[in-house]
């Protein structure tokens, strides 16, 4: 059993709350990503799980073992948690060969020499590094070092795998490859995994569920699809790359029960869904750049806006446009080439989302 249960975890330094009431349950074999900007508490949560950072309140339990309980005064030291942690910098010991790095956790567990050799070979094979056991860390490429770090963690068969931005030191091409490979390996081993990143693309591609964190709190915990399509707050929408936020006022409903809103210029728009609970009359409507249609002539659609193209960026297959609408600026994309000047925009109600302003 390696279900992870984090309840009401908090870490306060005086008035500063690095972690604020963080609760997270990860099922056996699940891949959950903690996503957020730097300083949001995602690494602190990971290090608290590993036992390298001591929270001030809450509990951490894995399976039926309690690792941390502030109220009961339980804090199992890192070395007794049996949790594998892969560091952002890999933290390979520079004075030991790859094999010695891998042997270290086995020696600590008093694994017999013969079995050590077998398990090290297995782990190296798992990460495609067979035959590189005698190398020193600095003799390996960044991608290889990253896989050694992973092998060193897998070799002692941890009950839980923690990954702290393991791909951030790789170049973009390698990062894509490593991402797919890592995901496949995790499926193959069925290892419960907690992954920390600030890269939303990585999070969307790899995770079973994503916990978006902001200022020490989890603001949304959901599947990648729902995080992408239905961000709960403006912060999540922004972080996931929704792009455009147009301030609007709620004015009523149409006959189909859809929300009617009005922009600052008095343009009436139809939107999908409902306003988030507790929101006032001031809202924001989001539309992704690729969902906006541009045209030189007026478009006949339920949602229409007019604006002025102020900037154009060549993106390869498409063109990116910055369009001024009143005092707002929004981003749009199109395969068509438009010159700076007046332009018409249209979008479908189901491509919009209402958030609190």
């Amino acid at each position: 059993m390696s279900e992870v249960v984090i309840d009401n975890l908090g870490k306060h330094y005086g008035a500063v709350r690095a972690l604020d009431d963080v609760s997270l349950h990860v099922a056996e074999g699940e891949f959950v990503t903690l996503l957020g900007p730097s300083g949001c508490g995602k690494s602190t949560t990971l290090f608290a799980l590993a036992g390298l950072d001591r929270p001030t309140e809450g509990t951490i339990r894995i399976g039926d073992r309690v690792f941390f309980d502030a109220a009961a005064g339980i804090d199992v030291p890192a070395e007794r948690r049996g949790i594998g942690l892969v560091f952002q910098s890999y933290a390979l010991w520079p004075h030991m060969t790859v094999r010695q790095n891998l042997a270290f956790p086995l020696k600590l567990r008093k694994v017999p020499k013969a079995e050590q050799a077998v398990r090290i070979e297995e782990a190296l094979a798992l990460v495609d590094l067979t035959g590189l056991g005698e190398r020193l860390p600095h003799e390996l490429s960044g991608g290889q070092q990253q896989r050694v770090a992973l092998a060193r963690t897998l070799v002692f068969r941890p009950s839980l795998l923690l990954l702290d931005e393991p791909l951030s030191n790789l170049d973009a091409k390698l990062r894509h490859k490593a991402r797919d490979w890592l995901k496949q390996l995790q499926r193959q081993l069925g290892l419960t995994t907690l992954y920390v990143t600030h890269d939303q693309e990585e999070a969307l591609a790899m995770s079973d569920r994503i916990a978006v964190m902001q200022a020490g709190r989890i603001v949304q915990l959901d599947t990648p699809e729902r995080i992408y399509r239905r961000p709960a707050t403006r912060f999540v929408a922004d972080f996931i790359g929704a792009g455009n936020f147009l301030p609007v006022r709620h004015v009523g409903h149409d006959e189909g029960g859809r929300m009617l809103v009005e922009t600052g210029e008095g343009v009436r728009l139809v939107t999908a869904g409902t306003a988030p609970p507790g929101a006032g009359a001031d809202l924001a409507v989001t539309i992704r750049p690729q969902h906006l249609r541009l045209s030189a002539a007026p478009i006949d659609d339920e949602n229409r806006l007019t604006g002025t193209i102020v900037d154009r960026t060549y993106l390869g297959a498409r063109h990116g446009y910055t369009v001024a609408i009143g005092d707002q600026r929004i981003q749009a994309e199109s395969e068509q080439l438009f010159e700076p000047g007046a332009v018409h925009l249209a979008f479908r109600a189901e491509d919009t989302l209402l958030l609190d302003g």
Partner: protein, 571 residues
């Protein structure tokens, strides 16, 4: 909130990490308090601290400050310290500016020579100056023969201050040079572009930038001058010029019945003065940190070209080193191989090996040399290990009192050698388990180790801080406890710093004498104490021979260490 991690749930015993951390912290505290406590305690007692029925009070301090002899001691010590500091700063800063900021001819040779006094015991340097410039010194007599009157008097406070300044100039140079090397050369270029000549640039731009390290090192030299025993012992005591250190020496060893109260009060006063100076230094350094900007980008500073002036400056600096360092060393060497040294006779008619015979013919003297080497070699090693663990606890553990431990570990900077010696001597009288070490080389090793903690810590701690925290964190997450993580991962990565710390401790243990004068006993002599005994008996030749032996050991060790670091670049 109280998180109980002190006990292992499996065994019920305290965890290994905390056991080690507490043991090391308590041992460090004991090392520092053992000499400190008895001195402070004795300073308030009206009779020797081992006698029953003592009543605490301020009588000792009243007696001390009422003693006109002690007024002279205070005056002499401070005049000496001020003069020596001025001389050391002038020499050290001049060398810094010309060696580090200009393209001076022969600067590498000059730099190597300048550092010599750091490797050599002050006792040896003082003796070498005595041989040349003392009242019956070679050059003194030569001058007297030519001019009819002695040209200088080393038996004076200014005379001693020159020697004190020369021996400590390398300290000033060390601190200023590292700053000067990092200085931004564009500031000097800017001065040149508005028309300043090379000497003007050094005076108006380079020198003011050195103000923080000058203040810092000046305080160090001032403390070093208050602490020195060799110089006043050789040049002051014969004519009754007493300093703080010789006052303690005379009251403790010179008198038939030592005046415990006076010694305690005077030693405590010296401790307070030095502690205050260190506090002032710390405050100044903290303020200095605000306006000193050290750039991470390493740049090779452009050096100023002095033209022909460079040869003049080079010649002047070389003359200083010749008179202050080279000739005195040559004199010791010559003195060791002659029956006596005088301008009246050619030294080559007086050549002899008797001086060395007078050492090697007596097992007691050979034993002193062996003891010195054992204390430096073995004691230095044990001390390095201990101080490495202290540094690990302070810098790489979650020990709750790490900060307090650092203050304790650095406190010995404030304890002059002779005061530490008196303190341990009294601790042996008071505490039976320390008393058992009386008359052994162990008590010397313990005292030297205590004195060596700040030096070795200064070499090890910065290296520890350069290692990323994830290297031991990863070991912890893979199942290593604190002790395994730091010994298997962190210590191997700090090998060069550990080796540097061992080198520093070996050299300082080898040349140490002031902490030993109260602690040595028959069977536990060292080179320094034997030199002092020979000195007291007027055996100048034997002192010179011992000096040469100590210099040879030092040279051999430095060469081996150098070779070792050259061939083991990765250690």
């Amino acid at each position: 909130m109280n998180i109980a991690v002190s006990r292992d749930p499996a065994t019920g015993w305290p965890r290994r990490a905390l056991t080690i951390q507490w043991s090391v912290a308590l041992l460090t505290l004991l090392l520092v308090v053992a000499p400190l406590g008895p001195i402070l305690w004795q300073s308030f007692l009206d009779r020797p601290l081992y006698e029953a029925g003592a009543v605490p009070g301020f009588a000792n301090y009243v007696r001390l400050f009422g003693d006109p002899d002690f007024h002279a001691v205070l005056r002499n010590s401070f005049v000496f310290a001020v003069l020596a500091t001025v001389i050391a700063v002038l020499a050290g800063v001049a060398f810094t500016l010309f060696l580090e900021r200009t393209r001076l001819p022969g600067r590498n040779l000059l730099r190597n020579l300048l550092m010599w006094p750091l490797y050599i015991s002050q006792l040896v340097t003082a003796f070498s100056w005595y041989t040349l410039y003392g009242p019956a010194g070679y050059f003194t007599l030569l001058g007297e023969r030519i001019f009819g009157v002695p040209l200088w008097d080393m038996y004076s406070v200014p005379g001693m201050a020159i020697l004190g300044g020369v021996t400590q100039a390398p300290v000033v140079y060390l601190f200023c040079a590292s700053n000067a090397r990092m200085a931004d050369a564009t500031l000097e270029d800017a001065a040149r572009s508005v028309g300043a000549g090379p000497f003007r640039i050094l005076w108006s731009v380079a020198l003011p930038m050195l103000r923080p390290p000058i203040i810092y090192s000046a305080i160090l030299v001032f403390i070093g001058s208050l602490e020195t025993l060799a110089i006043p012992l050789i040049f002051g005591r014969p004519v009754g010029i007493e300093f703080f250190t010789t006052f303690l020496y005379s009251k403790g060893l010179g008198a038939i019945t030592p005046d415990y109260g006076m010694i305690g009060a005077a030693a405590s006063l010296l401790l307070v003065i030095v502690t205050l100076l260190l506090v002032v230094q710390g405050l100044l350094l903290r303020r200095a940190g605000r306006f000193v900007s050290v750039k991470g980008k390493s740049q090779r500073p452009k050096r100023i070209d002095l033209g022909m002036g460079g040869y003049v400056v080079s010649g002047l600096l070389a003359l200083y080193l010749l008179v202050g360092v080279l000739l005195p060393m040559a004199a010791v060497l010559l003195r060791a191989f002659t029956t006596f040294l005088t301008p009246l006779l050619s030294p080559f008619e007086l050549l002899t090996l008797e001086n060395f015979q007078s050492i090697f013919d007596y097992p007691v003297h050979v034993r002193a040399i062996v003891n010195s080497v054992v204390i430096a070699g073995v004691g230095g090693l044990v001390a390095t290990v201990l101080i490495a663990v202290i540094a690990l606890v302070i810098r790489r553990s979650s020990f709750p009192f790490a900060r307090a431990l650092e203050y304790v570990a650095l406190y010995p900077r404030a304890m002059p050698g002779i005061v530490a010696g008196i303190g341990f001597f009294w601790a042996m009288l008071l505490l039976p388990f320390i008393g058992a070490l009386s008359g052994t080389i162990w008590i010397l090793m313990i005292a030297f180790t205590m004195r060596g903690i700040p030096t070795a810590y200064g070499a090890i701690a910065p290296a520890l801080m350069q290692i990323g925290p994830e290297l031991d964190q990863s070991a912890r997450s893979l199942g290593a406890d604190w002790w395994t993580a730091v010994t298997r991962i962190i210590l191997p990565l700090t090998k060069p710093a550990l080796f540097a710390a061992y080198t520093l401790l070996f050299l300082s243990f080898l040349k140490e004498y002031s902490a030993a004068v109260f602690l040595y006993a028959p069977g536990a002599e060292i080179i320094g104490t034997t030199m002092l005994s020979f000195w007291a008996e007027g055996e100048g030749g034997a002192v010179a021979a011992l000096s040469v032996i100590q210099l040879i050991i030092t040279l051999a060790f430095v060469l081996i260490a150098h070779r070792f670091t050259r061939t083991h670049r990765d250690v």
